[in-house]
Structure formats: C-alpha cells, structure tokens
Amino acid sequence: MPQKVVLSLDWWSVIAALGAAAIVKLGFLPHVPW
C-alpha cells in the first residue's frame, strides 16, 4: 500500500502563502485592502 504523505504545518503555511501569491499575481483577487 502506498505510504500516506503527511505534510507538516510548516509546509502547509508555505503552500497556502505561495498559492495566495499566485492568485495575486494572476490578478484573480481584487485589491487587498488594509
């Protein structure tokens, strides 16, 4: 049986942040206000 890969919190934070950066880059997100 293939081993299940469990990603650490560290990796998830990197994936989420890079995903959001890609969305910003591609222009899918309107301006993010603060």
Partner: protein
Amino acid sequence: MNRSTTALLPGIVLLAAIGYLGKLTEQTIAAYGRTHHQALPNIEYVLWAILFGLVVSNTVGVPRVCRAGVATYEFWLKAGIVFLGSRFLLGDVLKLGGLSLILVLIELAVSIAFMTALGRWLGLTPKLTSLLAIGSSICGVSAIIAAKGAIDADDEEASYAIGAILLLGAFSLFAFPAIGHALGMSDHLFGLWAGLAVDNTAEATAAGALYSDTAAKFAVIAKTTRNAMIGFVVLGYAIYWARKAKQREIGNKAAFLWQKFPKFVLGFLLISILSTVGAFSKPQLTDLANLSRWAFLLTFAGVGLQTNFAQLRKQGWRPLAAGAIGEFAIAGLTLVMLLAVNRTFGL
C-alpha cells in the same frame, strides 16, 4: 470540506473577530483624536488584539469548540512571514541575514552557556535545563517541541519550559518597546534586538510591530535567521544526550537537519526572489504586504488567546525563575552587543 477542517472554523473566526476588533479600536481612537483635535497616543492594533485575546483567555476562557482553530495561529504567523518576503529584496535578505547570523551565533553561544549554568545552580533536572537553554537560545516553543523528542525529555519537563518561555514572551511584549523608546533606539536596531532576544516568533514579530512597521521587518529577519539554526542546536543536544545514555546515535545527520529546518524560511526566500526579479507589480506587492498584515492580525489575537496566566502559574517557580533570570540576562547582553556593533559599524 472535511470534518477536521470544519472543526478549525470556530477558532479561526474567533481569531479574526478579536484581531479585527483590535484594528477597529486603533482606527476608532485615531478618528476620535482627529475629529476632536486631540493628540491621543497611537496604540497599534497589535497591542489591542493581544490585550483582547488575553482578556478572553483569562476571564471566560477560550471555548472548547474554538481551541483547535485558535491553535492555528502559528500557521498564520508562518504564512504571514512568507508574504513578508515580498518586502525584502534578496540582496537585503542576504546582507541582513549575514549580519544577523553572526549576531545569532554569538547570542546562541552566550545564552546556551548561561542557561546551562543557571539551571545547574537552581537545581533543575539536566533535561529541563537543556530544554530551557534551547528554548531561550533559539525560538521558544517550536524549538522545545523539536528538542523534546530528540533528547527524550518527558511531557512535564517540556510543559514547564514552554510555560516559562510563553510567560516571559508576554512580558517582553510590553517591556521591550518601552525600553526601546526610553533608549531612543532606531527601528533597525530595535527590530534586530527584538528578533534576537524575544524567544517565541509570534512575540518577537509582535514586539517589533508594536515599535514600528520597519522594526517588525528587521525583527522577522533576525528571528528567522535564529529559527534556521534550530536543527543544528537540537542535533547537538540530541548527540550529547544519546552519548550520555549510551544510546544509538542519530544515523543520517543531514536528514535530521532537514527534518528540523523551518520550511517557511524557504517560502520567505522564494517570495523575496520573485519580488527581486520583478515578478510582482507595485500594486501586487502592496496586496502581498496587506495579506501579511491580515495573517499577523490573526496571529496576534492567537498570542493573547493562548496565554493563560493561571495555567502558567501552576508550573512552579523554579523553571520560571531560571527562564526569567536567563531572559533578562540574554536581553541585556544582546542589547549591549547590538549597541556596541551599532557604534563600531553603524547599523
């Protein structure tokens, strides 16, 4: 959405609500000052979010249903640091990282030696002393958790060390900016000091943000460099304890180092490289900086919500005393070191 993700939602909503309340409070006070032509002190949302979190955690307590979600504050912290990479050109990261690395190596040597001597003097167990030394030299909670398994310490020893680091982290949030202002420190100098001397990454970032936006940037760089050293220090301790217990030593040291290396540092570097080569336009860079602020907003609410003084008090005074004396000494030594470097080389 699966069940474990759904279980996180109430806590994340609580983080967002408390963080946003902090932001609203800052804006409301500023607007009141403007309309009434009064010069009110500008208290950053960071402090409000932490304070509101502390109030909830130490009065009504964090509802059980929210606990899992509140614990995600570390995820938001790391994501926020990755986004922050967009505000650094790679050259600056390397320059600042190089300078921080030299300072971090000195800080590591001094704090490990100091905490070890102090732990022995206070009669703490050798493993608790090791945990406190690791926690105060590198990065608080995650370093202690990483080291706990590696040196085979028990849960109680780890929770003592974590309690001491968290309590002192909460204290330093208020003490560091006050000292920085009293000494008239520049944003750059203060940021480096917070990053080198405050133990937990969330508290180090918050202490920097309480001083200024620029100080937060420098605090994150110094702290991230410190975090990157985690594997080496934990490996050193693991080898020491394995030899002492005559156990089998760690086989693949490179794999061990990679396993302990904080991966969010890679994300931070990648975003910084992309920004340096011009992958993002100016408005997109602003968007990324704002995403970082939102992520930190959740983090700071989590810092307050995770700190429960009654629980920390149960840990006993010895680990706390060792932690407190150690932290004060390390904070003082780091400050002297930075002031000396600043005078000699001009930071």
